[in-house]
């Protein structure tokens, strides 16, 4: 595999994570449990959308086939999306959303902290801008994890269940393939084998402080890097892509 193809794959994964999770969060718009929380979670969605846009644009340049951010974001089939499975899971109740968000934010933060020092100047510039927002996302989802975990008996039980339910999707974040190998050896992105134990330690520290039990690693879902998705992805894309499919090249 050539380096250019590996970089394109790598960028797609980063951008798809942000775009798909941002899209899921946007479903909370107007439905947040509190007015302030509604605004806050949508700010996170908008931040992620911003990250996705700049990474898609760069991915289009790297690919060199003249595709822009919209072509890549809206006009692929399901198997061509490479977001981690955890990003496409349903929002559930607010505790489910917070559990998903905290686990992803912690991962995203560790990865982008390393991307800031990427040998690829564009990746490093995008990461330097994004990391400030990601740090805030992590702070916010950490605060909510602490409050729900160490809150009432009901909030404790419910978010514990959320973490138990989502846990089997976390292994997929750390699956490595040929593209990852090339990216790591070129100094473009971090080694996920190094990130994983740090991620687990950080997650466990917060869950412990929140009086929650960190689930044990058991059987894990995987497949996102080959574009194998959960049953939720098709429904998500039918909404996400509706306008571009129904009215090709429409702009507003």
């Amino acid at each position: 595999m050539e380096k250019k193809k590996a970089l394109f794959n790598y960028l797609l994964r980063l951008a798809d994570n942000a775009a798909i999770l941002g899209h899921k969060l946007s479903e909370w718009c107007g439905h947040g449990p509190e007015l302030e929380e509604d605004i806050a979670i949508i700010n996170t969605a908008l931040d992620l959308l911003g990250h996705a846009r700049s990474i898609y644009t760069y991915a289009g340049e790297v690919e060199g086939k003249g595709r822009d951010e919209d072509d890549i974001a809206f006009l692929r089939i399901e198997r061509e999306y490479k977001n981690a499975l955890i990003c496409e899971l349903p929002n559930g109740h607010y505790g489910d959303t917070i559990a998903r968000q905290f686990l992803f934010d912690q991962f995203n933060y560790l990865v982008f902290s390393e991307l800031v020092n990427s040998t690829d100047e564009t990746v490093s510039a995008i990461a330097a801008k994004a990391i400030k927002e990601i740090r805030y996302h992590l702070r916010r989802s950490t605060e909510w994890t602490l409050r729900l975990g160490d809150g009432t008996e009901e909030s404790h039980n419910r978010i514990q269940e959320s973490f138990n339910d989502v846990w089997s999707y976390t292994g997929d974040l750390f699956v490595e393939d040929e593209s990852d190998g090339l990216i790591v050896s070129a100094g473009i992105g971090p080694d996920l084998k190094i990130i994983r134990p740090i991620w687990r330690e950080k997650v466990k520290a917060v869950l412990t402080e929140a009086t929650l039990t960190t689930p044990e690693d058991g059987w894990m879902h995987s497949g996102s890097k080959e574009g194998r998705h959960t049953e939720h992805m098709g429904h998500l894309l039918s909404e996400l892509q509706y306008m571009q499919r129904a009215y090709p090249e429409c702009e507003w």
Binding site: P33, E34, L35, E36, I39, A40, N43, Y94, R147
Partner: protein
């Protein structure tokens, strides 16, 4: 979620270094840390500020509207209370 447990907070934002914190509005939050976080998301997402204060609304004491006459009216008719008889050099600027 019940809102009854979430107190009201007043938000003060310093728009840039050197200026005073000004009242921006109010919001609900479960505690001070989340109030600051919510204030950041509600009031400073378009570069409106560099510093945020929050205080629980119940800690603010206020004049009563019914006291307006005795509190504020007598001030206007005593011109000697206003230092308007001095020439202020332009260099001093706004006082």
């Amino acid at each position: 979620m019940e809102r009854k447990d979430w107190p009201l907070w007043e938000v003060f934002v310093r728009s840039k270094a050197g200026l005073n914190h000004k009242h921006s509005g109010s919001l609900h939050a479960p505690d001070a840390e989340m109030a600051i976080s919510n204030a950041r998301d509600v009031y400073t997402r378009r570069s409106e500020g560099v510093s945020i204060w929050v205080v629980e609304s119940k800690h603010i004491h206020s004049t009563l509207e019914t006291d307006s006459d005795s509190m504020f009216d007598p001030n206007e008719d005593k011109i000697y209370r206003h230092p308007t008889f001095y020439d202020i050099p332009d260099e001093v600027g706004h006082m």
